[in-house]
């Protein structure tokens, strides 16, 4: 039956760029294996470690022995080189026709991946974006200040860019492989703005975007910084997108 052949042929490559994720990597891999296993979809997990000094790569090698090197693919790099190039590097080695990007620190939960896949199949979307701002999407671990900054920044972004997606700085997404390739080629920004630029360029190129509400569990907020510098560089990046796209 043609449609089930196509479904059997679909393979999902999960890109996990890691830096000092020795504690979290086994946990996220375990969750990925659990939910992919239950769903029956074909998958691989590509760990792109940027020379973590804490032994992340060694843990990854252990995981490879446990789950098999067809499921856990290691493509490390010598040093911290940034997200855009990590995606490019990962795509080169991906054998799937779909790519899932997500954070490796457990803020993104693999239980949403089957929902992403279902959404993508429903609408034939070129990319599916996890949103914290719609439906029953949300966040855990954010205080009022953080929520205010997040909603405020998102509002300004919506007014200026009218991007057709509710969550632009999110990094939990499913892309068709060739779509991700084309987009990463064209994107020049860094950090939060890089993820925004991907969505904006996707719209420019006429790609279709689906959304799935996700929960974002922030366990590192205490340590992570969202200070003046971050906000200023976000605004700079936003204005650049405003003026150039």
């Amino acid at each position: 039956c043609p449609s089930s052949d196509r479904e059997e042929a679909d393979k999902y490559s999960v890109l996990l760029p890691t830096y000092n994720e020795r504690e979290n990597l086994p946990l996220i891999v375990w969750l990925l294996v659990k939910y992919f296993g239950e769903s029956g979809y074909n998958y691989e997990i590509i760990v792109i470690d940027d020379g973590s000094p804490d032994g992340t790569l060694q843990i990854a090698e252990q995981l490879q022995k446990i789950y098999g090197d067809d499921k856990i693919v290691l493509r490390p790099r010598a040093k911290k080189l940034g997200l855009g190039t990590a995606y490019i590097h990962g795509i080169k080695h991906a054998t799937g026709n779909f790519i899932i990007i997500m954070d490796a620190d457990l803020s993104h939960h693999p239980k949403f991946i089957p929902e992403f896949i279902k959404k993508q199949k429903e609408g034939g979307y070129d990319l599916v974006s996890g949103t914290r701002y719609r439906g029953d999407g949300g966040v855990y671990g954010w205080d009022l200040r953080r929520k205010l900054i997040s909603r405020g920044a998102n509002f300004v972004t919506q007014v200026l860019l009218r991007p057709g997606a509710s969550d632009l700085t999110g990094s939990f997404r499913l892309y068709k492989k060739d779509v991700l390739e084309r987009l990463v080629e064209r994107c020049v920004s860094k950090g939060y703005v890089f993820q925004m630029e991907m969505i904006v360029r996707a719209r420019q190129l006429g790609y279709t975007i689906g959304e799935v509400p996700i929960s974002f569990v922030d366990r590192v907020y205490g340590e992570s910084k969202l200070g003046g510098n971050e906000i200023v560089s976000f605004l700079k990046g936003l204005l650049t997108l405003f003026a150039t796209t």
Partner: protein, 92 residues
């Protein structure tokens, strides 16, 4: 056209329309009422937009979902994962 250009175009169109009505640049002999209403419009619209923005952001912050259940579930699964991985031979 970039978003910036779209905005400049939109603002120019609105600006021209406002100027035409307020200063009667086309000599249309519009009733005084039109001019009186048009003159404060730009400031009025900015204030309305400002209020709308604050209200919208306020509403969205107030209704921002707190995913308590998700956090609890994650904690439980982390423990499950650690136990299972230890069984499978992972040395953490």
């Amino acid at each position: 056209m970039t978003k910036l250009l779209e905005w400049l175009l939109g603002v120019s169109l609105v600006g021209v329309a406002w100027g035409l009505v307020t200063f009667d640049l086309l000599d249309l002999q519009l009733p005084a009422a039109y001019k009186e209403v048009a003159w404060p419009m730009p400031v009025y619209l900015l204030v309305v937009f400002g209020c709308y923005s604050l209200a919208t952001i306020g509403y969205r912050v107030a209704t921002f979902n707190d995913c308590e259940e998700a956090a609890k579930e994650l904690q439980a699964q982390i423990q499950e994962a650690k136990d299972d991985l230890k069984k499978k031979g992972l040395k953490m």
